[in-house]
Structures are given as C-alpha cells and as structure tokens.
C-alpha cells in the first residue's frame, strides 16, 4: 500500500492530498497543469517538504510529521524520472546509467541487470555518447534506465513523455509499458494525457486544485460522469476489459471477448488469450435501437441505457451498461436522442467503427506482468 497524506503551502497554492493506492501496479496521478500532481511526486521523492502529513510505501515511512520522520532524499531509494530527463551533461550515457547504481552487493545483484536495461531501452549504441548529442526520446530512455539501475523501491515518473513529440512518444511509450517486467516495483506516474494513463495505469488518482477528486481503478473513474469535468471533455470515454479471442491476420484484425459478445479491433500483434484494455471515446460510439444490418460498422454491442446526461451544446452523453456489466459512453446529438426516443432502461446497440480504435487505445491490463515476464 502506498499511503500519501500531504499538506503543503507553495506560495498561494495549497496542497491537501490524501489517498492510499495498491503497491501492485501503476498508479497515475492525473490532472490539469498546476493541479499539484508534480508537487505530490516531489514530496514523495523528498524534494518538497510537506508542512504536515505522512508518506509511506508498505513498511517504509519516508515522512511523518507526527513522529518527526523525514528520510533524506539520498536515502529514500526512489527512482525519479523527470519531465526534462535531467541527465548529467558532462558524463557519458554509460556513466549516467550507473550514477545511482548501489554499492551494496546484494542490492546491486537485484534485477534488472545493466545489460537487460540497455537491451529493453535500446541504449547499446548510445553508451559512449554524451547527453547533449542525444534526441529527446533517447534522453528520456537513458533517464528511465538510470532510475531502474539504482534498484529503486518505487519509480516516480513526472510526465516523462510530455517533452516529446508524437513520434518520440510512440518510441518510448511501449517501453514504459514493459518496465514492470524488469523490476516489479510500484510506479507513480504523473500525467495530463488520458491516452498515456489508459495505456499504462491500473489505478487512477484524479488531482484538482491541490486536492484528490477521486481514487480507483482506471475503468471505474473514467466512466463516472461526475468526474467528467476532470477526466476531460475531449477525452470522454470508457475503458473496457476483455480477452483476445482470435486473430484474423488476413484482415489485420483481432477479436476481443467481452462476456458473451465480441469486439473487433485493428491489431494483429496480440496473443490469443491475452487480456487487454480498450479505451473507447464517447464520440466514436453511435446508437441504434435495432440490430444493424448491412453496415460497414463491425462492432454492435448490445446493452441498456443507464442514464442520459445533457451537455451544454447540441450533444448528450449516454451511459450504457453492456451485457457483461461493463459500461460504455456514447456521445450523440440531442436531435438523434429525441428522434430515437431514447430513455433510461431502453435496450440499444452501441455501434463502434473498428477503425476508431487506434494503437494508443489498447493497453495491457492490470496485473499483466505474468504475460510479459
């Protein structure tokens, strides 16, 4: 269990955040810029001293104002990956990677080994170079490797992809998803990008104005309408969990099992039987009241309308309960909702174009280390 209870004053900004999350898995701290996500991470790392509170991971207490505990930064053994990398410009990549390597032989022998880190992050060709000559993506990969090789008891990542452009991000994101195969430690991941959160995180902590607005599994929080202002209008959507039932290589498609129903996504690099998370944006879901026929849309999932939420505009957001109990959001026009006489309790079909599901919407499910290791 990661226990965080922090009160701090930063100029006119007050931080008052309390939450407990499981140590097993990736926890995303999500919120707008300036919400206080990074301050929370800095407090855990020891870079910011709270005025009061308690910070602990499992049995290790890093900070407790009531006991007067405040473990020095250098003794916390928490691997921090900063947004800007913060590589040492005067050292080679190799020396950067080994800067935090523990001198204690027992700890040094813990996984991951230097070679494993270099292999996973693709750093072999960079070892003798210096940071000023590296690209943004290369720098972040070195920073991630450096934090792993200190054999941390947890990884703290502060928007490690925020400074990267689309292509660089696509280069680093899959590596982040595989980190836990190298070292099974809790990861706190700060982000303001919902696609990263869905791809990587198991638990979501929503931060708003220095306070915690919600804590829970990613699937639950992203489908809650009261949190919609925080999870984002553009990002509105839901996360479904399923299992890969079959691959159709000739079409480049994979079928995902959701209870009794199946769902098709454009991907072939998945293993049959592998469990998977799929993020479906509300604006990619259409509604039909009868089973559709003669349509190009591959996915028609049967379900029931749970509630209809008006937005301030021409749209309504409809929450559906699928046959297996998972929830889905659909954003359609108010006009269509009226024409179809949609109401709570109506049985409907959710139509989703397979093409609307891109690579970024598919993520490994929580606790998937077994498949990866």
């Amino acid at each position: 269990m990661i226990q965080i209870d922090i009160r701090a004053k930063l100029g006119s900004f007050a931080l008052d955040a309390t939450f407990d999350v499981p140590t097993d898995g990736v926890t995303a701290l999500f919120g707008r810029s300036g919400a206080g996500k990074t301050s929370i991470l800095n407090a855990v790392a020891g870079l910011l001293r709270p005025t009061a509170g308690r910070i602990a991971i499992d049995d290790t207490t890093f900070f407790d104002s009531s006991e007067g505990t405040d473990v020095p930064i250098s003794l916390r053994r928490l691997g921090v990956v900063f947004q800007d990398g913060r590589l040492f410009p005067h050292l080679t990549v190799r020396a950067n990677l080994l800067y935090g390597a523990p001198r204690d032989p027992v700890l040094a022998a813990e996984p991951p080994s230097f070679d494993d880190v270099v292999a996973l992050l693709g750093l072999g060709a960079l070892l003798d170079r210096r940071p000023p000559g590296l690209s943004g993506g290369e720098r972040q990969r070195v920073a991630i490797g450096r934090s792993l090789l200190m054999k941390p008891q947890a990884l703290l990542m502060d928007e490690p992809l925020a400074a990267l452009d689309g292509a660089r991000k696509a280069e680093v994101l899959p590596m982040l998803a595989e980190l836990r195969a190298l070292r099974r430690v809790p990861i706190l991941y700060v982000s303001h990008q919902m696609d990263e959160v869905v791809r990587l995180a198991d638990t979501l902590v929503l931060i708003s104005d220095g306070c915690v607005a919600g804590v829970g599994p990613v699937e639950d929080l992203t489908s809650r309408i009261d949190l919609r202002p925080l999870t984002g209008r553009h990002e509105a959507g839901a996360v479904l969990r399923g299992r890969v039932a079959s691959i159709e290589p000739e079409w480049g498609l994979a079928s995902i099992e959701l209870g009794q129903q199946t769902f098709t996504v454009p991907a072939t690099d998945l293993a049959v039987g592998q469990s998977l998370r799929v993020r479906i944006r509300a604006r990619d879901v259409a509604i039909a009241v009868a089973p559709p026929s003669a349509t190009s849309v591959l996915n028609a999932l049967a379900g029931t309308i749970v509630n209809i939420a008006a937005t301030d505009g021409p749209h309504v957001d409809i929450r559906l309960s699928l046959l297996d109990g998972q929830h889905l959001w659909a954003r359609i026009t108010r006009k269509s909702a009226a024409a179809l006489r949609l109401d709570e309790g109506c049985p409907v079909y959710a139509l989703i174009k397979a093409g609307a599901i891109d690579r970024h919407s598919l993520g490994p499910p929580p606790g998937s280390e077994d498949e990866l290791a």
Binding site: L47, F82, F88, H90, T92, Y99, R129, G133, R146
Partner: protein, 234 residues
C-alpha cells in the same frame, strides 16, 4: 645588455612572482570554492554580511589591507604572535606573507567567478543526483564542480593574474626584500626609483606583459577544451 638579457635580480623577481602567484591559487582555490558553494547553494543567516566581508579587498585601498594584515599577522599582532609562539611561523617579511597578501587581494575575484558558474548550474541536476542516492559531498564532487569547471578555471586565472599584479598590500605587509618579497611589480617600482634603472624597468614591464599573455592564452586553450567536453563531444 640587450632587452632580453635578464640580470640575476630580475630573474629572481620573475621566479618569485610566479611562485607567489601559483601558491596564491593553491591556497586560495579550496577556500574560494567552499565559500562560493556556500553562497550559491546554502541558505544561512548573515549571508549578506559574509558576502560583504569577502568583497572588502576590492573596495578598500590595497595598502589598507596590507596594513591590516601587518597588524593581525605581524610578529606582535594577535594572530602573528600566536603563530610565532606555537609553530615558530613568521609571515611578516617572508614570501609566504606575500602569498597571504596576494591571496586575500585575489580572493573576492576567485569567489565571484566560481559562484557565478555554480549559480548557472540547473539545481535540478543536483536534485536528480540526490534522488540517485548521492549525498551532498558526492553531488558537489561529481556534478557541481565538474559542471562549474569553466568557472573554476576562470577563478584560478583571475586569482593568478591578480597575484602577479599585487603591489600595495604586499609592500606594506612584507616589505620589499630582494629575493624574498620583491616580486616583479615591486622590482619594477624599485628600478624606476634608482638612477640608470630604466632599461631594467623596461625589461620587467615587457616580461610582465609576456607572462600575462601566456597565462591568458593557456586559460583560453583549457576553456575551449572544457567547453567542448560539456557541449557533448565525446
């Protein structure tokens, strides 16, 4: 005697100047680095006062500093008497005293150059080093000082140059003794005060210029090498 033929007296002045300058850097640098680091990175009460005290030699006449040193470190001064009684060390009228005078005069320049270069380092890099398990001393040795290397070099060169030019504090504190405290500026001054001393004074003037230029050229060469290293060449 041609312009470049140096008399034994002139050779001795040159050697003494180089010796005093080098020792000033050796003695002054560790203190200057520690002071600059404290001022740049560690908050403590009375910082403004310490900052002001360090800069005194820049703003008062060197003769005043020399006289103050004589009062403190002279054989009858509080510190000088103590050193003499316990260690048999006497600084007044010795070349070691000249080193002290030069160091004190050069100190603010060294501290300033080093402090500026430490302040230019992103504190985030030092914070990153601490999260990686490095204590304050290791951060200083492996991150701060290597990144401040151009400033350390500038501080050392400034300190050396200031020592070569030291006159007022030296002549007041340790006098003008041939072979012991008569550095180049003192020798030059002495030659201008005796009849027929002009050719020797001229030679020492040229020699001073040559030494100064050589020091500048050497430091520029080293600075370029350092910059190349910090800018990512391997």
């Amino acid at each position: 005697m041609t312009v470049l033929d140096l008399s034994p007296d002139e050779w001795s002045a040159l050697a003494l100047s180089l010796q005093v300058g080098a020792w000033s850097v050796v003695v002054g640098m560790p203190l200057a680095v520690a002071t600059a680091w404290l001022l740049a990175r560690i908050p403590f009460p009375g910082k403004a006062l310490v900052d002001g005290l360090i800069h005194i030699p820049l703003v008062v006449p060197p003769v005043v500093v020399g006289y103050l040193l004589l009062l403190l470190l002279g054989r009858r001064g509080p510190i000088g008497a103590w050193l003499d009684a316990h260690f048999g060390i006497s600084l007044a009228f010795t070349w070691q005293g000249a080193v002290i005078a030069s160091t004190v005069m050069a100190f603010p320049l060294m501290v300033r150059a080093i402090r500026l270069s430490i302040e230019a380092i992103d504190p985030g890099l030092e914070a990153a080093a601490r999260t990686l398990g490095a204590g304050r001393l290791r951060v200083l040795a492996t991150v701060t000082l290597p990144l401040a290397a151009p400033g350390l070099l500038a501080g050392a060169v400034l300190g050396f140059a200031r020592s070569l030019g030291e006159f007022g504090a030296t002549i007041t504190f340790v006098s003008n003794i041939p072979g012991e405290t008569r550095t180049m500026p003192l020798a030059l001054y002495t030659f201008t005060q005796v009849p027929g001393g002009e050719p020797a004074a001229l030679r020492l003037m040229i020699l001073s210029l040559v030494v100064a230029f050589a020091a500048l050229a050497l430091s520029e060469m080293m600075a370029r090498r350092l910059r190349r290293r910090l800018d990512g060449g391997s």
